[in-house]
């Protein structure tokens, strides 16, 4: 029995080392890309096969969701439909989660990800982003009686409501340490706090505050855009040049017909209103400063 235990311990140790080594090398480098076989399908291969596989959200209304007839809908999906149409192939939608979007591209299980995918430097190392088609930043909503139009409007005694762990909290803490923050853990708590007048304003992602002001009378988005702008773009597997170039040209070409403005009016206007169209939509891949 003692011998057995020793063998078992050695085996476990070896396995753990192998597992840890494999896990680390996986995240630090993209070794699979350098192997002889490419994981992705080129533009011609997609056209030949007759279907393009596009990863979208199935539960993020109004960007990607499934309606009561089981059809995919939303801002991302509207664009995906157009891409498939112009490629001359059928679109096959794959339901993705925020946590597995990169994995899907790296294994070539989808050709394109169109799932409200924010462009970040870390992600750029894992996948290739095309030109952006939407831009988001932070926003501040406040009661109509005392609209906060700029951060200077915030008096010394005032507090700004934020949700812990959001970009709004990080941004305000880093760039405006003098502003007092009232932190909440959940969206519902922050909402109640604003309604009870516990803070002078509420800072969050601008899409969130815009939607909030539209649904709740008596509140205005005084600052619709704060901090650095993040862009949302389609992504393809790293190195898939032909498809990436095609999407980039397509986005530029669609700019001529104001495609994303049309898309906004069809899919997002109900949630965000027409006032913020210019704020959120990026046409031809050109982000306004």
């Amino acid at each position: 029995m003692k011998k057995f235990k020793r063998i078992f311990a050695v085996l476990t140790a070896v396995m753990m080392i192998v597992a840890v080594a494999a896990g680390c090398s996986d995240t630090s480098s993209n070794a699979y890309n350098t192997s002889k076989k490419t994981v992705y399908r080129t533009l011609d291969e997609i056209k030949e096969s007759g279907t393009v596989k596009i990863g979208v959200f199935s539960d993020k209304n109004p960007f990607g969701y499934v309606d009561e007839n089981g059809e995919y809908q939303g801002y991302d999906v509207y664009f995906a439909k157009r891409l498939a149409k112009d490629l001359g192939v059928k679109a096959e939608y794959v339901s993705t989660e925020a946590a597995n979007r990169i994995e899907y591209l790296q294994t070539g299980k989808v050709d394109i990800i169109l799932a409200n995918f924010t462009v970040t430097d870390e992600r750029k190392e894992e996948v290739d982003f095309a030109l952006p088609y939407m831009s988001v930043s932070l926003g501040v909503v406040s009661p109509d009686k005392k609209v906060i139009k700029s951060l200077n409007d915030i008096k010394d005694g005032d507090e700004v409501i934020v949700i812990s762990g959001t970009t709004a909290e990080t941004y305000l803490t880093e760039n405006h340490p003098d502003i007092k923050l009232k932190k909440f853990d959940a969206y519902a708590q922050a909402k109640t706090a604003l309604e009870n007048g516990e803070g002078a304003a509420w800072a969050n992602d601008n899409t969130e505050v815009i939607a909030y002001a539209l649904q709740n009378k008596g509140y205005t988005v005084g600052i619709p855009s704060l901090g650095s702008k993040d862009t949302i773009a389609p992504a393809v597997s790293k190195g898939n040049k032909t498809l990436l170039n095609w999407i980039n040209n397509e986005i530029k070409a669609l700019g001529k017909e104001k495609f994303f403005h049309k898309n906004y009016e069809k899919t997002l206007a109900d949630t965000y209103g027409k006032d913020y169209e210019e704020q959120l939509v990026v046409e031809s891949g050109k982000v306004k400063k």
Partner: protein, 225 residues
């Protein structure tokens, strides 16, 4: 009805989609359960052998399954096989493989426990009657083991049905994912639908698992007589 958001279920194909999702979940779990029982019985009997190599190998397998979260196994089988070998498994097939891999180990451990609980005199009497080793297992040991296994394995089966909610992570749309889709699609018009919908899913899962419990207690009674 309105407050619970049950009316959302009646819109379009929503209810059919939910049932469809439940069928996917049940299909994955039941196929895996059948494989797990078959392989598990074999694996469990193998585990009772006193050979060191066999014991080490089965012990390692069992520990891997116990330690690894099912989610990690799903990612390894679905994405890992594509990375390592270029295999492109269907998501549902990948789920069945993971659930069978998991179920076989747990089932095997249950079988091992049940087999080693069979009193030694059962074997000895059987050999004394002239049965060989295979016959002893087939006519004496396995039938008695199965009876002891029923209550234990029901636990595993219902757990497997419930764990299918994880397969949404590799793109399989099952009951819980459909629920989230319906809730989100109606976020604006019916913000309180979540409660009613989750309640519905709860009832559906109960209806799916309860007959299994009933069958188990029926078999237990029948076989103990």
């Amino acid at each position: 009805m309105q407050a619970l958001g049950i009316d959302v279920l009646l819109k379009g194909n929503n209810f059919i989609r939910l049932i469809d999702g439940l069928c996917t979940a049940l299909r994955i779990s039941l196929v895996s359960v059948i494989f797990s029982i078959v392989f598990g019985i074999v694996f469990g009997i193998v585990m009772t052998y006193k050979n060191t190599v066999i014991r080490v190998v089965s012990r390692v397998y069992l520990e891997i399954v116990r330690i690894m979260p099912q989610m990690v196994l799903l990612f390894i089988v679905f994405f890992g096989t594509t990375r390592m070998f270029g295999l492109n498994l269907d998501a549902e097939l990948a789920s069945i493989i993971v659930f069978t891999f998991w179920g076989t180990a747990e089932m095997g451990d249950l079988v091992r426990g049940a087999v080693s609980n069979i009193p030694k005199h059962q074997y000895e009497s059987s050999y004394a009657l002239g049965l060989n080793k295979a016959q002893t297992y087939f006519y004496i040991v396995i039938p008695q083991t199965l009876r002891r296994l029923i209550p234990l394995s029901i636990n595993l089966v219902t757990r497997m049905i419930k764990t299918t909610s994880l397969v949404m992570m590799i793109g399989v749309v099952e009951a819980l994912k459909v629920t989230q889709q319906i809730i989100e699609a109606n976020r604006m018009t019916a913000p309180n639908a979540a409660f009613g919908l989750y309640l519905t899913v709860f009832i559906l899962y109960f209806l799916a698992c309860w007959p299994i419990s009933l069958l188990a207690s029926y078999l237990e009674k029948k076989w103990s007589a």
